[in-house]
């Protein structure tokens, strides 16, 4: 038994069977289609719901939907959203994109559908300041990457809040005042 194994081993070694098998594989692969995507000319297909650069959504009238409630900043795991309110207005809405991990929690948390992740992924820059997103830049991103109906549809399809109207469900028992 042992002898037959060694004989087989010897034959294997001296006929280079395994090497030839490997070479047959590489030759086969040589005539297969390359998987390379030649980036600037060809682009990877972006799947729907892609989480790319951030944008602040606008309503039909062209005003920012954001009310500055701060839920997104609260849930953000990397704490990269900075919001402050002044005089009943959203004074500051900044996202430090270099810290963002693109988890999408902010979009999920927002009750007004005001923040969204667009399909844009090409925004590398040589300066840190250019990547630090301020409010006006985030708003212009909405016009740039979510123009017209696209924004609404995209948002509704993938990032819709669990409920559209935030009232009480009809089956819920509610206090309707004291019985006379």
């Amino acid at each position: 038994m042992e002898c037959s194994v060694t004989v087989r081993e010897i034959i294997k070694r001296f006929t280079f069977i395994e090497i030839f098998q490997g070479m047959a594989l590489t030759l086969r692969k040589m005539f297969s289609h390359a998987v390379t995507i030649q980036y600037p000319k060809e682009r990877r297909h972006i799947a729907p719901g892609y989480r790319g650069q951030h944008a602040l959504a606008k309503n039909q009238a062209g005003q920012a939907k954001c009310v500055g409630c701060g839920l997104c900043a609260t849930i953000c795991p990397s704490q990269c959203i900075h919001i402050s309110r002044a005089k009943g207005q959203v004074d500051k809405y900044e996202i430090d994109i270099l810290r963002c991990i693109y988890c999408g929690f902010c979009v999920e948390a927002c009750p007004y559908g005001a923040v969204v992740l667009t399909e844009n992924y090409e925004y590398s820059d040589y300066k840190k300041e250019n990547i630090y997103m301020k409010k006006d830049k985030l708003l212009s991103n909405w016009d740039k990457y979510m123009p017209g109906k696209k924004g609404e549809e995209y948002f509704n399809k993938f990032w819709r809040p669990l409920s559209e109207d935030f009232g009480t469900p009809p089956g819920q028992a509610v206090y309707k005042g004291k019985k006379e």
Binding site: M23, L25, T26, L27, F31, S32, H33, A34, T36
Partner: protein
């Protein structure tokens, strides 16, 4: 004034003949060097292309159509790179090393015959620069000198990685040179000559048409040793990227690196040509293929280049397929397997040769 008064017509004739012969040799050198360097450039291109496709990539695609101008872009880049010399390097030796290495491999181009000899206006031109009788030995000797280039480079760099690469290269090339020389002894016995042109001629007249068939053992040993001699995967110990950065030329940059690169690829061309000449029949085709009509009108150089390219493709193919051997395995294969098998091959070849000649004598 008559020119015959100054110099006799015979002498003038001899001078003219000498001049023309000199011109022919210079022309040959220029042509061989130009074509050799062009082959080096495109050998790198096709290496990247072939290995790329074998790894399901594309290889160079950007410079020119399908990256065809990539070798020139690379060459330009190497020209304009800074020429660094390590502070504690042995300067003179550091400068000489790449020149030794490249010259040693380039000189080999002069003894490689490429095709049938032809005649132009009474001048018989053989397509080889130096048709010497010890062509085979000359190539071995030059390969031996090339090791000095590598070893000196490793030593002069004053860097541990370069030094290790140099030592490994010296050990490896010396061990595999023995196996390669012994594998070619079978060819020498069969051809009865060391002249490369004669070896090809002997193959054309032989029964099999090429020595690769009766000398299959020698051919396999030669192929393995050739891969090891040119320091290519799976025997690229001297430049093992994962262990030694880049091996013996770690400290070289710019044009000096280019010289090493050039030398390495010319050594590849030499090895492919050697395999073609000694085993695959050079520019001739076996008689059983000559039966095909019209095939005899194909010029010999085409067959020669096709065989060389096939061998080159084999180099690339092997590189894309096999991982690197461990260092002790490389030495083990060389000393414990290849050399004994090559010796046995010599013995059998010699015996068969003696038996055949005795039978023919009787």
């Amino acid at each position: 004034m008559d020119i015959n008064n100054i110099i006799s017509p015979e002498l003038l004739d001899a001078f003219i003949k000498f001049g023309i012969n000199l011109l022919i040799i210079i022309l040959k050198i220029v042509i061989v060097l130009a074509i050799g360097l062009l082959h080096v450039a495109y050998a790198t291109y096709f290496e990247r292309k072939v290995i790329g496709h074998m790894q399901v990539r594309l290889g160079p695609m950007r410079v020119g159509w399908h990256g065809l101008l990539q070798p020139f872009a690379d060459g330009l880049k190497l020209f304009f790179k800074e020429d660094l010399v390590p502070a504690n390097a042995d300067k003179v030796v550091f400068y000489i090393a790449p020149i030794i290495f490249m010259a040693a491999s380039m000189v080999n181009l002069s003894v490689i015959p490429f095709s049938y000899s032809f005649t132009i206006a009474d001048f018989k031109i053989s397509p080889v620069i130096a048709d010497i009788n010890i062509g085979l030995l000359f190539i071995f000797a030059m390969a031996g000198i090339g090791v000095y280039g590598i070893f000196i480079a490793g030593w002069a760099s004053n860097s541990k990685y370069a030094f290790l690469g140099g030592i490994r290269s010296a050990a490896q090339v010396i061990s595999y040179e023995i196996a390669m020389g012994l594998s070619l002894v079978g060819v020498m016995i069969m051809a009865g000559s060391l002249n490369l042109t004669d070896i090809v001629r002997a193959q054309e007249e032989s029964v099999f048409g090429m020595f690769a068939i009766p000398q299959i053992v020698g051919f396999v040993i030669f192929t393995i040793a050739a891969v090891a001699e040119t320091n290519r995967t799976p025997f690229d110990m001297p430049e093992a990227e994962s262990e030694l950065v880049a091996g013996y030329f770690t400290e070289y940059s710019g044009f000096r690196f280019a010289l090493f690169f050039l030398g390495e690829y010319i050594a590849m061309i030499i090895m492919a040509s050697m395999a073609t000449i000694c085993f695959l029949g050079g520019w001739t085709i076996p008689w059983y293929i000559k039966v095909v009509p019209f095939i005899k009108y194909v010029p010999g150089i085409v067959w020669f280049l096709m065989k060389v390219y096939a061998f080159f493709f084999f180099f690339y193919w092997i590189r894309a397929t096999l991982p690197r051997y461990r260092y002790d395995q490389v030495m083990g294969i060389g000393w414990k397997i290849l050399i004994p098998v090559a010796l046995a091959n010599i013995l059998v070849t010699g015996l068969v040769k003696i038996i055949i000649t005795t039978l023919n004598g009787v």
